[in-house]
Symmetry: D3
Subunit: 316 residues, 6 copies
């Protein structure tokens, strides 16, 4: 029974398994007592649970990063699944204890992602763009392959940033074949750098929050800064058309001023990057939600899709 | 010299060529005299021209559909190219007279488009969708392969509807490979039918205007009507999940209520169809504009892209 | 005392009466125990109540559709009246048990509504419209006279759909007298069909929810489908001007694209139908709220009126 | 032939008739010469015309308020009818010269409008409202019965203000019958005063422009001022509930803050007044446009109806 | 220890002090028992607290306006500070009991504010404006110096209205020096009257709510009424340019129709008054929030600043 | 007579004076002939004029930057003043020929502006901000003191950028006195740099257009780049709180994302800078328009003030 994962269970089924405490927030209940609002995770996803009448010891024990033995029941609360806790204790020495075993991962292996990404580097034939992209990927390699692509919403798991980037590159390649007028060098360079500023905007892959620089400048300005510095170091003129085009790709990729791009796309490749970014993020969000929804049912309302709920058709 | 086409000339260059009168509107000038506002076309595109102090004879002679010999000068008027007319006469018998030679065409041949489209039909494995799509394609085959995809904006040429449909199918195929969770049967069926209502909304491939049904119901309701009728004829239940899913694909494909969809997408495939429709339309509009723009210049502002102008980089 | 109805009591008054359980939702309280969130109804309206620390037996007993004896106190919670439950038990055999006695009804009797509606049918002199309307009213007669006009908001009671329709017809008649240029045949036909799609969009008069067709297509597309099918069966051309006008009336009646009409009104009668629909819905919502508000007080904020609260003047 | 009025002619027909110069604006043509942009009117409506190469004498002669003999041709310019002038001269002594004969009028006679309005006064049974309304109607009687209801858009003719007011009163009466919960005293009082501020906002029935007070305060604040002053003079407390309710009716009648109401309606009668005001204005605008449109055609786009064009069905 | 004020304590520190009950609302907890939601205040600010399982006696004893002895702990709840109550009792006779000692005050003394305001009166050299302003300040002197400037948000303390007015006058004076084209007479007169309608819109400095006149007419229409009445009494023509200009200053000062101004500013001084009003309100809101925020932290999200949070830099 | 400047004349007055050709655009008139659309300027402002039937020689002669002798008449065209040209020729040797004499200037002398700006530099006591500001002012000194602050709208004259900056500094100083909690060091540093990116975004003080970098990146990203580079050169860490605060001041100064700031203000000083920037720009635009408007009249509609027109009161 301990082999099943969270989302292998159905609603109203009793559960017994090991999970990781992803977050644990102590709050005051309406009856004046403290409780812990948990998010538990394993490789099948994340689920919430409330631990009522929490003692000081419990609060001190059950902290983020710990692997715990959990007995309870999966329930539905306001259309979202949650766990009713019957028993909770730390995992013993003889039991699984490595947090890395309980974390969602990119659907492909890091080594493969890295290898495939590298192949795209070779196809950036413009030397200015190639040098800038290589320099920045080298500088932030570790973060690039371990950070999530967002704090929540889409690709919010370790390695999500690199996987999201790779997905866009693949779409870009398909488009390059179908629309030969597109400059794939520029499209690939822009795709690789478009969200790299997140490694400076976010605190890291675990317990992700915004840095001060992230709050005050945002990831678009932060990556533009890195490109400027890289040009300075490599002796490339930031005012050359090549540099302007690449920087424009990145700063315009949110598509609309309201979404934080200081200028809208004015290059066909910039427009395409913006649309592909949207497309991949939508698909990833929908995929995550539909996976936890039964055939013939609607998902919960998805914040990142304007609050729409989506239907999962019955299997034929 | 007569071998050059409209957009083979540069601004401020004298021109001499045969063109088709695509539209001719008689107006009153500010000096009280009549003039003709022409749109001339050949296979390189469409350009406007004004014919001042037009006599009754000129107005009666130079009507849409005629091929004419044109001598003049290409100029720039408020950032858009136009022709200053020096001489205009009907093409003689010994000269080219077939309007079909002066019309923009889909960049691929009709036979090839048709063949490729047919291959997609085989990949619609769901029998309900397959039968509906085949029945409607058969009923409107002629219109489907000759209508434009829109009155102006994108794919506004004979055959544009079929070519736009094929482009979306190709994108859909690429996506199906990258995101295996997508139901490509549904995506292909939706893609083929999504704009088919335009054959009822628009009057035809030439001098395109809106029909009364187009004005009062719009192409989304018109194609939904056709699907309903087809189901009735084929004995398929319109209330089956299969029929509902396909109809939802079509009626939601504008994405937003503000754009005329009575419901927003609530299926992952419907969201994808909407985004691919957008993507292909954007690329086609940009391509048309950039083609007429010199390297190092910006296009005119493009209405269908929120009035943005786009930069055509210098060639490297 | 048992003769008084829910809204015959004032706030902070003890109550004792029979009510119907309109809905009963089991939730988990912040102290970890289960409670039932009830909506009780009788002919004076609907009121909520919470049943704390609910046992399994209570949850199994007090289900929607049961008539119960209720002792408690009417209170004010966040400006809305609710019941604090002192005692709750099923009604005994000797006590009232027919749910039909505890349901809000249209303010007029069904037979009278039906008779008056029929008189309007005679005034639809255009034969195409008359035949379509009669055929559809006949097909959905039972649903038309028992469904609510909406899931909540306005006319959300059994028979609400027919009563709302009749109210619009009466307004339309008054307008026809004042503005003789209006085609009342068209206006009446449009009014009768405008919301008939709700009998397909909603699940029924009790515990009303959306059907899958309602979620994926919406009531506007669903009634348009019915008109199309009816034309087919009656041998009427859907592309005749008469059919187009009637269909336009229905699909444009939400007035704005944002509200789900695929086209905006382009007929004076369509614009009028839209405005009268609004007017009657507003008056019904306001009436319901003001009835439960004391003179000299404001109602709660009304969602369907953009969250405004309304003042009930002191009686003179 | 001189018995026909402007809109008795069709497009492309030669015309010969007497008209009034409603407005005459001298402008500089693109060829550097002056022309006069006329609006001519008779009882059938208003039409524009351009008088090219206007001499100083012509400019001095053809001024607003003059009746002229006009020979020309009715044409279509950008979908709007206009007159091409062949001959223009002042009307001679033996010819019609009274401007009053060439002005659009309310469709009913002033004496009848006044008599009917007076009957509504008797139905305002609340003495506070009755006294305020009577005092203000007396003070502004002349203006009320001669002003237009707006500078352009709807009811833009002499007497339009009173006729628009009467139309709303009739609608209000019909509503009072159908919805007995409405306080018709308040509704009638509000309807009569709602636009009375226009007699201070606008300069008068001819060559209507905005006064300085109209520009800086607007008609809503101006009529509120008049109500306040009237209360002071009649010894009525402006802070009584009766006074507050009436003032609220008037200041909220534009419905939305964006349309210049400092507060939105918070009384059911205020909401109703707003909706009836809209309904009557819409019907008047549509009526005026459809009258000048042939069956089977669309009107021009109507500014006051969000730029929509409306279809005039074929007569059956 | 009893010398410390609420915001002299840090989060998680035990507290012991006297405070005033600013508001006390009895609610029903999720466990079905009553609790009191308090706002306590002293001169350092306002803080919330919940009193669980409140007996009838407690509810009757702890009412707004009472000074109480409070022992507890300052905590953080959803990023906002609140008090966890350990002990609560009424202040004894020997202890501080005057509510006036526990109320936030304008940062300057009333006598000084009044004296400085009077000096501005002398600088209103236009006699019409001077007489109107003096008359109204005299009539509402008491309220003007004791009311808050708003129910919550900015300057929400006794005397806030006068202090906010003075702040704007000071800014206006600085602007008058820098931009000599401004008419400071008009600017000062407008500034003094701009929010004076709040003394009629709001119920008073304590337990502030909206009056019926406030709800139905709003403070802009109410002060306009007072200006009209004052003109009548002083024999000044409301239609003089001077009166129109002053009234325009006041009714347009919210800047946008959406914010409740029936007209937008059309005088340079009216635009300036609007912007200075905004500027001072923003600074006051930010000041209040930053005061309760530690260096290196962000404030909570501030409703009146579009929900933004602000950073308090580390001290250097 | 030649001593009068453009705006010393009234409408309908004959004029005779020397002016500078600020811009000259050749267009095709509706009669098919070419004309020149001029903007003439002298120190009193800019006015438009059309030169009809322009010969090739005229087009070649009358180019931007030339001083010309102009005889004509000032007229009103669509509410805007323009010149009707009677005679136009180049200025002779004996006549004024220096373009610098015919250009609008900052209302204060450059030397004084520079001196006063330098005094503010001393008040930036934070060494990081002081060094960055000094370095950038030094690098772009010439441009800073000669560029306009915008292409059109406000401060659109040589030296406008420096004068606009100084105006904000003066306002900031007044605010610093009134609100001592403000960090004036930060406010001054932000004010000086806030629009400095315009020297890279715009092409220069004459015939101002956007550079490619201006179009693709915008002045906010361009000045951020300069700050980053300056930090690198001076050995200052861009990730220090000081650097982040200063950069945040600049990138957020448009206030709203819709206006091109990638983040909104999250520092009290950033909010203040945004509001002061607005205030000074508004006052400058209004001043320019009111100067050309007669007392008792409204200005034309001002684009930068949301299309509002402003009233110039009669002088008392």
């Amino acid at each position: 029974m301990l082999n099943k994962r969270i989302f292998d269970y159905k609603n109203d089924e009793n559960i017994e398994l090991f999970v990781l405490i992803k977050s644990a927030e102590t709050r005051i209940a309406k009856n004046g007592k403290q409780f812990i609002a948990f998010n538990f995770s394993d490789q099948s996803g994340v689920i919430s649970a409330k631990f009522w009448d929490a003692s000081k010891e419990a609060i001190a024990t059950f902290t983020p990063g710990k692997v715990v033995y959990l007995k309870g029941k999966r329930e539905l609360y306001q259309n979202n699944p949650q766990i009713k806790i019957f028993k909770l204790r730390l995992a013993k020495e003889s039991e699984p204890q490595d947090p890395a075993l309980f974390v969602q991962k990119a659907p492909e292996k890091r080594a493969e992602i890295e290898a495939e990404l590298n192949r795209y580097l070779f196809e950036i034939t413009n030397p200015t763009w190639n040098r800038i992209v290589r320099a920045l990927l080298k500088e932030y390699q570790k973060e690039f392959f371990t950070f999530p692509a967002a704090k929540s919403n889409h690709h919010a798991y370790a390695g999500g940033l690199a996987f999201h980037t790779l997905s866009i590159l693949r779409l870009a390649k398909a488009l390059g074949t179908q629309y030969p007028q597109l400059d794939t060098s520029l499209l690939y360079a822009g795709a690789i750098l478009h969200d790299l500023g997140k490694v400076l905007e976010l605190s890291g892959p675990v317990a992700t929050s915004y840095t001060l620089a992230g709050n005050l400048l945002g990831h678009i300005v932060l990556i533009d800064e890195e490109i400027v510095k890289t040009c300075e170091r490599l002796g490339l003129a930031t005012e050359s058309e090549d540099a302007l085009l690449l920087r424009h790709m990145i700063i315009s990729h949110h598509g609309l001023l309201e979404y934080g791009s200081p200028v809208r796309p004015h290059l066909v490749e910039a427009e395409v990057l913006h649309q592909l970014d949207n497309l991949d993020a939508s698909l990833q969000m929908l995929d995550k939600s539909l996976e936890h929804t039964a055939p013939g049912e609607f998902t919960e309302r998805i914040f990142g899709m304007d609050g729409r709920n989506f239907y999962r058709p019955n299997e034929k």
